[in-house]
Amino acid sequence: MDSKENNISKGASKEQILYANILNAGMLIGLISLVLIFILYVSGILSPLIPLEKVQTYWVLSVHEYLVKSGIQVGWAWFGELEYGDMLNYIPIAFLSLLTIICYISLIPGLIRKKDKPYIIICILEIIVLLIAASGVLGSGGH
């Protein structure tokens, strides 16, 4: 117990502060971009792939029916259509969803220095899990 008490430091660890700083910067960039790009989209400055007035005819359908009727491709297909206002909105959404991976990668060097094997393994596994989810290789569900 004494040795444990010696190992406990009060408040946030260095890794925790590093993670928080990266998360904070990324979150601000992501949310501000999300609002700015959305304004470009709804103001009509950037024309959308699906006209704004038509979106409401799709959001009442299941995602499978929506994909069939709209002809929208799943996965990362939006990345090839960034000239459209609606598709451009996926950039900040994807960025916010990638932020955790960036934060985890930033933890690895510190963990290696500390030779903290269990957490190195857990962090690498988490990065793999999130990359698999992001890659789209898990395929389409659909009804």
């Binding site: 660890s13 998360l23 929208i72």
Partner: protein, 322 residues
């Protein structure tokens, strides 16, 4: 007899009027998303994004006052009372919960309330399960998901009514796994101006419960703070402040994995997501501001009632009765 302060009464009245108005408009021009695939009559395209913005703002205020995440209110209420298909509501719900967790995470980590060493092992289990949950959620028929969602929401209502919380749980002896992973710490509790040393126990049981939590988060797009907190606090023995903060931070990891599945399957529509995220975040800021002048118990009762109605509506909708 409960005394409801004037300010709380005004907020409650506004919400009730707004919900009645939504219900009224819903029956007049919205289609039933589970059974009727006819396209809605064309309205001005901005009407529903505006409704989402206002509704999400109110939900953001209430989520803070009631101490729940935005997703758990967003999904049942939006899917129950607005014409959006459940697939898109769940996709938006996950992004809403994710944005809220990302916004709160840095502050909670810096203050030492959220604990990275506690969160990381739980996150691996929960995020892996959330991917599976999201895939199941998108593969099952909508009415089945709607019934399960309704039952889950009603279960959450019971949990909110019955669940106790322990401010500083007794952990006589930490388990071997938590010791190996060095999950313990000290944080400063400003309310009593004291440094609190904490440790956890029953880590394997906690990890097993996070499998279920992850599955439900992914399947229903709810976020999962309502389940994270009792597991971290009551099962594993983390102090309530550490449990609440770590739970909020955990959502930024768990919901990320499920959000990707919804996004890669086309279930994330910017015209729904952005007004919802902006609304709930603005509402959260206002909620924090008025937190000191409202009675949390009154708000909590109201949230329980609204969730009870939404859960029942989801259940009936799934059964083809609503």
């Amino acid at each position: 007899m409960i005394q409801i302060p004037l300010r709380s009464s005004i907020v409650i009245l506004c919400v009730v009027i707004f919900l009645i108005w939504i219900l009224g408009t819903n029956t007049s021009f919205a289609s039933d998303s589970t059974t009727n695939h006819n396209v809605t009559e064309l309205q001005d395209w901005w009407l529903y994004p505006l409704i989402l913005l206002v509704l999400s703002f109110l939900l953001g205020v209430f989520a803070v006052l009631a101490g729940v995440g935005g997703g758990v209110l967003y999904v049942p209420i939006v899917s129950g009372f607005l014409p959006f298909h459940l697939d898109f509501v769940r996709g938006a719900g996950l992004i809403v919960a994710l944005a809220g967790a990302l916004a709160a995470g840095p502050g909670l980590l810096r203050k030492g309330f959220a604990n990275l060493r506690l969160a990381i092992p739980m996150a691996l289990i929960a995020s892996s399960s959330a991917i599976v949950g999201a895939m199941i959620g998108l593969a099952l028929p909508t009415n089945v998901i709607q019934i399960m969602l309704g039952a889950t929401i009603l279960g959450i209502v019971l949990l909110m009514m019955k669940a106790k919380k322990s401010v500083f749980p007794e952990v006589p002896k930490p388990d071997r796994l938590s010791q190996t992973l060095e999950i313990f710490g000290i944080y400063h509790e400003p309310t009593i101006n004291k440094d609190i040393s904490w440790q956890i126990h029953r880590t394997p049981i906690g990890l097993a419960l996070f499998v279920i939590i992850g599955l439900m988060a992914g399947m229903f797009g709810l976020g999962a703070g309502w389940a994270n907190v009792p597991v971290l606090n009551l099962v594993m023995g983390a102090p309530i402040k550490i449990a609440v903060a770590t739970s909020k931070f955990l959502l930024s990891i768990t919901d990320t994995s499920a959000a990707w599945v919804y996004m890669n399957n086309g279930a994330v529509l910017p015209l729904m997501v952005v007004p919802s995220v902006v609304g709930i975040m603005l509402g959260s800021f206002v909620g924090v501001k008025i937190l000191g002048v409202t009675k949390p118990s009154v708000i909590r009762i109201l949230v329980i009632i609204v969730l009870g109605i939404s859960g029942t509506k989801a259940l009936l909708k799934g059964l083809g009765i609503g």
